[in-house]
């Protein structure tokens, strides 16, 4: 953006170069050592094992369903927060952002308190239908959605606020109902925000561990996600844990790269 190539302004000061280099090292080195230290010979054997395939499958389903849940439920919430004035809107917006900073374990405890077997809502649900949530894949998805939704809602609400309501006004003068306006104008204009939010929510869900293990447990084949499996394996067979971590790293980088090419480079 500037006309100079920077050299005419002098040498970059060490007081910025040194901390910057440290930050870069901290971010890059662990990943490099993970790549170097992974027992690549066992990579495909591990990838093919039932436990790993199960965990990968559960992670894929959970993160996929989480993104769908965020889009279906989070988009309307973001729209309400951005476009409708109602009492308590500011409070609700603040409450929606709390899970962003909440330690995942605390999120898990909160979910148990609300939806656990003897939880406030969970016990009612159990008495009425016989259904209990904890230790099921539904619980995994619930935990993932709980921690991922704020990322999605904030991103979409930001996009909705940025585009403003001027096009909504135009649509109204052209006879469009609010639903038509939402479908044909608001949503397409906020699409970059939706995609970015979905990517963030998906990434958050992929790495989710604390809330899930607290609320849904760590049962192979039903609730054991990749992060849970890695955590379990690290204690007994650290080299396998490295392989599993590598798999997760490759998958997430591959999907992020695909998203980046497709969407994130568009302004």
């Amino acid at each position: 953006m500037t006309d100079t190539d920077g050299r005419t302004l002098g040498r970059p000061p060490l007081s910025l170069v040194i901390p910057g280099a440290l930050a870069a090292a901290l971010l890059v080195l662990p990943l490099v050592t993970l790549v170097l230290d992974t027992p690549w010979r066992n990579f495909f054997d591990e990838l093919g094992s039932t436990v790993v395939l199960d965990a990968l499958g559960i992670t894929a389903i959970a993160s996929g369903v989480t993104v769908v849940a965020c889009v279906l439920l989070g988009t309307p919430l973001a729209w309400l927060l951005a476009r409708v004035e109602f009492p308590g809107r500011a409070v609700l917006r603040a409450a929606v952002t709390v899970p962003l900073v909440l330690p995942p374990v605390v999120a898990g405890v909160a979910l148990v308190t609300a939806l656990g077997r003897n939880g406030l809502i969970g016990s009612v649900l159990r008495d009425a239908t016989g259904i209990t949530l904890p230790y099921t894949i539904t619980a995994v998805v619930t935990a993932h959605t709980f921690v991922s939704m704020p990322f999605y809602v904030l991103s979409v609400e930001g996009a909705l606020r940025a585009s403003g309501d001027k096009y909504d006004v135009v649509a109204a003068t052209l006879g469009a109902t609010r639903w038509t306006t939402f479908r044909r104008v608001t949503l397409p204009l906020a699409m970059p925000g939706l995609v970015a939010g979905a990517a963030l929510a998906w990434a958050r869900s992929l790495g989710e561990f604390g809330a899930t293990i607290t609320f849904a447990g760590n049962y192979p084949g039903t609730t054991q996600t990749m992060p849970s499996l890695i955590y379990t394996t690290l204690q007994s067979r650290p080299e396998v844990a490295r392989t599993l971590s590598m798999i997760l790293l490759v998958v997430s980088i591959a999907i992020l790269a695909a998203l980046r090419n497709r969407w994130l480079t568009t302004p």
Binding site: Y167, V169, A172, T173, L174, G175, A176, V185
Partner: protein
């Protein structure tokens, strides 16, 4: 009763009564912040108002109608074409919202683009249109659903002079065949004189004058309109006195004759205006005076110069 009958009151900003025949084109003029855009937005239902709006015998205010049920066409200064839709989809939007089937809406939309001579741009997105092209599409979009009220908010602002002139001529042609009512907010006396059959002058949130363009231009009642049409207007009790800047005499010494039509003041600016130099003199009222370039040099008429300006009684037209 056909036509528009409105009594628009917006708290602290506007109090305007307005009655027009069907098919009328009303130019709304006045200084910035006078309430012109507020009037348009209130009629469209975009700002809350008290009073009443009645269009072709149907009340839009009792009970209050939503914006989408008002059947207005609003053209904004910055067009506000939907950026993600092509020109033809923009124009078809209002038709589809009102229940016209997709294919039929598209055919009608293409007809409208043809009428505004932008048919070949139908499949472009607004980002690929010039300002004049975008404004044509925006006007076509507003007219396509056959609104009973067409509201144009400075449709030529921000366009190149040549583009604005061409669009003005085209718009005049379309408005002649449009049987709804048009309100056109403008800063240009030319718009008022060429497009409108009625002029509504708004000043400080009130209607200052309402009449034919000829009458308003000949007998302005506000400084703003007087400047637009190039006249001086002075309010004297309940009467107005106007005179042309070419009838004004500028001198350094106090002129002879009646003190009634002479003022002492300071030159604020001097700019060329055709063959003459137009002075703006702060003499209590601000007056404009046209002098020859020779006189400008001879009398040293630069900003800051103290002068006397006077006008013959016979050159002044007085009206209520």
């Amino acid at each position: 009763m056909r036509g528009l009958s409105a009594d628009v009151r917006v708290d602290g900003r506007l109090e305007a009564e307005l009655t027009t025949e069907p098919g009328a084109v009303v130019a709304v003029i006045g200084p910035n912040g006078a309430g012109k855009t507020t009037l348009l937005r209130a009629l469209a239902g975009l700002v809350s108002m008290t009073g009443s709006v009645e269009v072709d015998g149907v009340s839009w205010t009792r009970p209050a109608r939503l914006v989408r049920d008002r059947n207005v066409g609003l053209v904004f200064q910055d067009q506000l074409l939907f950026p993600h839709l092509t020109a033809v989809d923009n124009v078809a939007f209002g038709l589809r919202s009102r229940g016209v089937a997709g294919a039929e809406a598209e055919t009608t939309a293409r007809d409208w683009l043809t009428r505004f001579a932008v048919a070949e741009l139908a499949d472009r997105k607004p980002g690929q249109l010039s300002g004049g092209q975008a404004q044509r599409v925006a006007i076509a979009r507003a007219l396509a659903p056959a609104p009973s009220l067409l509201l144009l908010d400075e449709p030529f602002a921000g366009l190149d002079v040549g583009v604005a002139t061409a669009l003005r001529i085209e718009l005049a042609r379309h408005l002649a065949s449009y049987d709804g009512i048009t309100l056109l907010v403008t800063h240009d006396a030319l718009d008022a004189l060429t497009l409108a059959d009625t002029v509504l002058v708004i000043d400080d949130g009130r209607v200052a004058q309402y009449g034919t363009p000829q009458n308003v231009a000949a007998r302005p009642r506000t400084d703003h309109v007087a400047r637009l049409v190039g006249l001086n207007v002075i309010r004297e009790h309940d009467r107005f006195r106007s005179f042309s800047p070419s009838a004004v005499t500028v001198s350094l010494a106090r002129p002879e004759g009646s003190a009634r039509n002479q003022w002492h003041g300071t030159v604020l600016s001097a700019v060329t205006h055709g063959d003459a130099v137009r002075l703006l003199v702060d003499a209590g009222p601000q007056l404009i005076a046209d002098v020859t370039p020779g006189a400008t040099v001879e009398l040293g008429l630069v900003p800051g110069r103290e002068v006397w300006v006077s006008v013959k009684e016979t050159a002044i037209s007085t009206y209520a």
